[in-house]
Symmetry: C2
Subunit: 296 residues, 2 copies
């Protein structure tokens, strides 16, 4: 079961971390891109794939997973999406679990096509994909079915990391629950059979930037594994996140994108792979300390 | 201004209609695909582009616009997305306005990439794109900025056509408003300067299947142009939709996908272009009669 596999890898690496490959030309050291024309999509996409391969080689023993934000690949058109597909394949060969951050969501017939594209085994073939719950159950069903059929998983948006997430997600309903809590209850209902660690393959996105909400969602969603974005560049630290894990120190995976792939900027070096490695190792210790503190 | 251009074309063709090119192999007459291997993505994608070209040639004087549901293209991987890009280009050459039904939505930095990909002028270059409002204003801002910069437009999900849309969208908030009404108010705030017909370029998706909600949203959103899916295959008729238009009979564009591109099935013919033409002409008369009745 895919969530078991992910947790196995998290325990083995001692890193509940996914490296966010939101790779684009602007995040690369100037020396790495000095020979390309930034208006040439193919050249940009080739550099992106090259950058990703170097990062994957550097990080594949340190982390269990990478997350690809497809927007940064769509931005470079067809060559960009080719780089996206090739990166997934390369990450799989390196033994990594791949989360496709695509946030698709639509009516049922349309989502059958999206599910087949992103987590079916024939096309992009990611292990997990992110989805948007706004359409409700009939829009979600094809994703749920594909997860069973192909042993894949989802992370459904519940409480996102950005400041304006409050505008809709925090609205209070007649029952006293906020919208993101209503989403959480839907996600619980969409859940399938929990694996050996107690988590099923229908997970939730819960932003690291919302410490209290994260704690309360962990209590509400006993069998739901969390994808936790917002660490680092978006402002959250390990102590904000620790409460989103269970008493065994499992229950989520934390994403960092800019803090890893752009770590060379802070370190004032062109060796982006080493900077990414060091930033990830430091993030790992930071999170381990916070989780150890929680376990007492 | 793009919404003015769309309305000019609607008035010229007397058809507030977009033909939904949700094109996939399963919707084509067997005789059209008898020579292809359905497991060969390139062959499938080539057929999709060929089918779209024939439909565009048949319909380009009858309707102002086509809508492409990108899920059906992503389903065929890179060749599918190439067919998507080529179809947009072909539709533009035929004088049609193109709505990219992609329903993207994320944090701001990510949406800058999505906006550039879908409605920027360099990549897919659609005229309008659909977006999901779940992230709130900071996620929407890059789309709003791109609309001003490139004279493009949006349709933001407000009330979707599917039955389960009620699960989240109809939840009642403390203020008495439902969630889709709160979304509607956000969309109103996101609106820019109305054009000559009183509509700005930040539109809303309002499902044809929700007659009463559509009437009430038309009153609430005076300057918001509607994209109205759900006619035909999803069960709504012209009389369900008429109240979503203003007193001048404008204010929205109605999408039909399966009812047009798969019309040959009902007509028991292999001439899918003629069947699509006839179905569209019939839809046009159906809508015109309902709008004339409304105007008295």
């Amino acid at each position: 079961m895919i969530t078991d596999k992910l947790i196995d890898k998290i325990l083995k690496t001692e890193a509940p971390i996914c490296a966010g490959l939101d790779t684009h030309i602007g995040i690369m050291p100037p020396s790495f891109i000095k020979d390309i024309d930034e208006n040439n999509l193919q050249q940009c996409a080739d550099k992106i794939y090259e950058y990703n391969k170097i990062l994957i080689d550097a990080l594949c023993d340190l982390v269990p997973s990478v997350k690809l934000q497809i927007a940064y690949y769509e931005k470079y058109g067809i060559p960009g999406i080719e780089a996206y597909a090739k990166t997934i394949e390369y990450a799989h060969k390196a033994g990594l679990i791949v989360i496709a951050d695509v946030k698709r969501g639509d009516i049922g017939s349309t989502c059958t096509a999206y599910a087949s594209a992103h987590i079916g085994s024939n096309i992009f073939n990611a292990d997990f994909m992110t989805v948007n719950p706004y359409f409700g159950t009939d829009g979600m069903q094809p994703f749920l079915d594909e997860c069973i059929k192909s042993d894949k998983g989802l992370f459904v948006l519940v409480k996102t990391s950005n400041p304006s997430s409050s505008e809709l997600q925090d609205l209070v309903t007649e029952s006293g629950d906020k919208i993101y809590e209503k989403c959480a209850d839907l996600v619980i209902n969409w859940g399938n059979k929990p694996g050996k660690y107690g988590y099923n393959s229908i997970g939730a996105v819960v932003g690291a930037t919302h410490k209290e909400e994260g704690v309360s969602l962990r209590k509400r969603m006993k069998n739901t594994f969390f994808l936790i974005p917002g660490y680092g560049a978006q402002g959250a630290g390990a102590e904000d996140i620790a409460g989103m894990f269970d008493d065994n120190g499992i229950g989520g995976i934390i994403n960092s994108s800019r803090g890893i792939i752009g770590a060379w900027q802070k370190e004032k070096t062109d060796d982006f792979a080493k900077a990414a490695y060091d930033a990830t190792a430091s993030m790992k210790m930071d999170i381990k300390a916070a989780l150890d503190k929680l376990k007492g």
